[in-house]
Symmetry: D2
């Protein structure tokens, strides 16, 4: 299961190569995770991003909406992993794997993901339909 967010590419997100610049996908994926948090957890979890890995599969362009799909691919004790996809015109254009670690913002140390959060996350395992 995944949460979808519709993105309208902005003209300033294109670059001189004529398509959406590669640095834009991380912004859209961040928005996708925000939408996921609201829908799945009805809260923001105190986490820090440990790793973002994005496969660029096809160029994205201005003028067509992009759908960001966000689900969970792995849940550990102190971290969990999002799987995200960016689709434009029925084509998978970018795929992200994002690792978040539980984080105590006051003490500035990592901490376990609360059980209540882990249970909710488990309801949003991304089922890979693209192979």
């Amino acid at each position: 299961m995944y949460v979808e967010l519709l993105i309208r590419p902005r003209f300033n997100e294109t670059d001189a190569n004529g398509h959406i610049n590669n640095t834009v996908a991380p912004v859209w994926f961040e928005e996708g995770r925000g939408a996921f948090m609201l829908e799945s957890l009805a809260t923001r979890v105190s986490c820090m991003i440990a790793n973002v890995s994005i496969d660029y599969l096809a160029e994205m362009v201005f003028g067509y909406p992009v759908t960001i799909r966000t689900g969970v691919s792995k849940i550990g004790n102190k971290s969990f992993t999002y799987r995200q996809e960016a689709w434009q015109r029925d084509r998978l254009c970018a795929r992200a794997s994002v690792v978040l670690a539980g984080f105590d913002r006051v003490a500035k140390i990592t901490m376990p993901i609360p059980d209540a959060i882990r249970e909710k996350l488990a309801q949003f395992m991304f089922e890979d339909v693209t192979g």
Copy 2:
């Protein structure tokens, strides 16, 4: 007198028209004001931006440095005005007028510009050399 800041345009600041997108100039001018604050006042003043007006005179491109010049054009009781210019390849490409109002961030109300700040600002009146 003005303070100069050298900007190296970034590739993601271009757009599909092949040049620097118009929304980038406000970012560079913000950086110019930050450099001005450090050099002229050795501090950040508690202000809020009231108005930003930018004349776009010539396109800017990737691959050449841009010089941002920042000085003061007007000093009032509760506000002052920056004059800023963006130069690339010896050409004035954009010119900004930015009005800042003194602002109490705690009370969230406007307040006078402190006299000590006004005196320092007065040393950086931008002398218009372009006509």
Copy 3:
């Protein structure tokens, strides 16, 4: 009359002051003009931006949608002026005046706004309801 575009503020558009950074409004207004072009003219006109002036009236924050209203305030022979507004939580937060000049992208010179465009623009005069 004006065209409305709904913007969902992005987390990376906030800054360390806790609200939306002032350099973001120009991006949203650019998107508003793009939506206007599509709805009002069903085309993109060959123009260049001559001036963007933005009044910042109230801070905007993450977590609430922003409505961009775009209409026309003035139509001349070689240029026309947009009036734009950004509303959040029933409050007018920013107001823009944007001057565009007709522009021949091949010859790189200004040119008159075509009559057909001027007539369409005239149907979208922004009626100021805020006083």
Copy 4:
């Protein structure tokens, strides 16, 4: 060996959490690769980005310069991999691995990395000094 580029963080790159937003690192790393291309190859190679993976190790803040180090970690027939690091105040804050594939922009197909480029790239193998 690596090429260094000094970045001056911009205020609009901070977010409401008070530090540099995670989506900024990809922009800085893109600039680092641009500087690398100029210094190491004296040209831009026709490539497309296949994957960007960034480890976020420590927060970066406004007000201190960031050094981007860019070198090569792997050279294949049709692709090569950059290793990049972002340092602030003597601390490794982010580390990137970026895979580029040779790309024919006209035919829009992947192609081998030219031998002349591969030889030059081989002179810039990033020697990992951080362990």
